[in-house]
């Protein structure tokens, strides 16, 4: 499977830089009227969303939102960003502070009751990050009676609370606080999406990603429930970005080495479990 995909990936990785994009034609009336796209993004989750050295939002999600703004309004600067955390992101959407979340939001049945997901952007798995010399954990059972760190609102925390009640979970306001706490020995491991962990380990040689992989799933942009016009519009944007090289060019910009390989596979291939990237909203309440 990988042999047939490799040439495609290489071509996408080195050759497909988006040219002058054609303006979209099916712009939702409300979005056209607003004249700007209010997007909630993560500011502490590289490579998806983070603040660059000038304090400006950057990352794959940010580039995608700017791409949508360019196709919609003719200017990437019409994307207005608000930093959200894992714990606050859905509330930011529901309280209309933002109209669209592109914030590493995993697609779950629980979340489908609160938001409507557009077409998924990338698939990923959860993993566990540990301190460099403590890479002896083979599976999640090995963490029973031990402490795992994560951030509030992560889907890993809900999963672990339900499936591994013997693991002591400590949740911080941001993933950066959790990573700092892991460095200081305040927990035995840290769980989050694999790309976030790989990026953290790339930056700090004192940290290492274990081979534990669990809970694979898709991440997708989300809109408020019933905001069908915007959801369908974002669907077309995601599909387009997957094929016109938008995602790949961002991935090349923000990642390197193993994390680039992981990200390109996550954004350009289907999930190994055979699940679809299409998301149907639940019926209206």
């Amino acid at each position: 499977m990988y042999r047939t995909q490799l040439p495609i990936l290489i071509v996408m990785a080195i050759g497909l830089v988006p040219g002058e994009p054609a303006r979209a034609t099916n712009i939702p009336a409300e979005l056209a009227k607003a004249g700007e796209l209010k997007v909630g993004i993560r500011c502490e989750a590289p490579p998806s969303g983070f603040l660059d050295e000038h304090g400006r939002p950057a990352g794959i999600d940010v580039d995608f939102a700017r791409h949508i703004a360019e196709l919609t309004f003719g200017s990437p600067d019409k994307a207005v960003f608000t930093c959200v955390t894992a714990a606050s992101r859905v509330q930011m959407l529901l309280s209309k502070k933002v109209d669209l979340l592109i914030a590493t939001l995993g697609v779950t049945d629980e979340r489908k009751r609160a938001v409507d997901f557009a077409t998924s952007m990338d698939w990923g798995s959860s993993g566990v990050l540990v301190r460099d010399k403590e890479d002896h954990y083979a599976n999640l059972d090995a963490f029973k009676g031990k402490t795992l760190l994560t951030d509030k609102g992560s889907w890993q925390s809900a999963y672990l609370q339900a499936k591994y009640p013997d693991i002591h979970l400590v949740k911080y306001d941001s993933i950066n606080d959790a990573i700092e706490a892991l460095r200081q020995g305040r927990g035995d491991g840290l769980t989050q999406d694999l790309p976030t962990l790989v990026t953290a380990a790339d930056k700090d040689p004192r940290l290492k990603v274990t081979n534990i992989v669990f809970q694979a799933g898709w991440s997708a942009p989300a809109v408020r429930r019933g905001d069908n016009d915007l959801r369908l519009y974002i669907n077309t944007m995601v599909t387009r970005a997957k094929t016109d090289g938008t995602f790949v060019s961002s991935i090349n910009k923000y990642t390197s080495g193993h994390s680039r390989e992981l990200a390109i596979r996550a954004y350009t291939t289907m999930a190994p479990d055979g699940s679809t990237d299409q998301n149907a909203p639940l019926p209206p309440r």
Binding site: V90, K171, Q184, R186, R224, R225
Partner: protein, 223 residues
């Protein structure tokens, strides 16, 4: 459309975890208030007698605490001190920082009350030949305490409300539990209502205790 309806059932489901958080908030608050009042008296004593070096340390402590944000103090203690090998747990870190914070304010409350005492009261004590320590402990502190109770209760209430900041370092108190519930169930209104009711309940009980203490101290001295 956007799911802002109120669901009593979700509040009922969250109640056991919220009560667990409330319990920890009460334990944290009481611990910090007790320690901070003791620290306040200690610092006020140092500021009154001005023993060399010690009173400068006490004065610096009060200035440092009053002029820096509490959240930064919490982060500094929790994330900063492990770099030099000191690694208390989140709860212990929180109680220590909040006690140090409130202790500085209680010391200022007491210092103000002591400075507000009539000069003739202290002069009368001195003219009776009382030892400065006896004068301080038997005359100055008891009289100053009577006037400072409302200010001390204000600081105690602030201490209780500021325990909410400890959720940022992972102390599983009422705020932590409610915010975690919101993040996982998206029931914002219900959990914030529980938070407000929880803190309001604690503060109302404290206000009743304050009134009782003020009434008791306001009865006057018995011969």
């Amino acid at each position: 459309m956007n799911g802002v309806d109120f669901e009593w059932a979700s509040l009922r489901d969250a109640l056991p975890s919220l009560l667990g958080g409330l319990k920890l908030t009460i334990v944290n608050s009481v611990s910090c208030i007790v320690v901070s009042v003791l620290l306040g008296y200690l610092l006020a004593t140092l500021l009154y007698f001005r023993p060399p070096i010690l009173w400068r340390i006490a004065a610096f402590w009060v200035k440092f605490i009053r002029n820096t944000p509490l959240l930064i103090q919490i982060y500094f203690f929790y994330f900063g001190l492990p770099e030099i090998g000191i690694r208390p747990s989140a709860s212990v870190s929180g109680i220590i920082v909040l006690s140090l914070w409130a202790g500085a304010y209680q010391a200022e409350n007491l210092r103000g009350a002591i400075e507000g005492l009539p000069r003739r009261l202290i002069e009368a004590g001195r003219s009776l030949g009382l030892h400065p320590l006896l004068l301080f402990s038997a005359i100055i502190v008891p009289v100053a305490t009577r006037t400072v109770v409302p200010a001390m209760m204000n600081t105690a209430v602030s201490t209780t409300k500021n325990t909410a900041l400890l959720s940022a370092i992972g102390v599983p108190d009422l705020t932590y539990v409610a915010m975690d519930n919101i993040a996982s169930t998206y029931r914002t209104l219900e959990n914030f209502l529980a938070l407000l009711v929880g803190y309001l309940g604690i503060v109302l009980v404290m206000a009743a205790v304050a009134r009782l203490v003020e009434w008791r101290l306001g009865r006057g001295y018995r011969a």
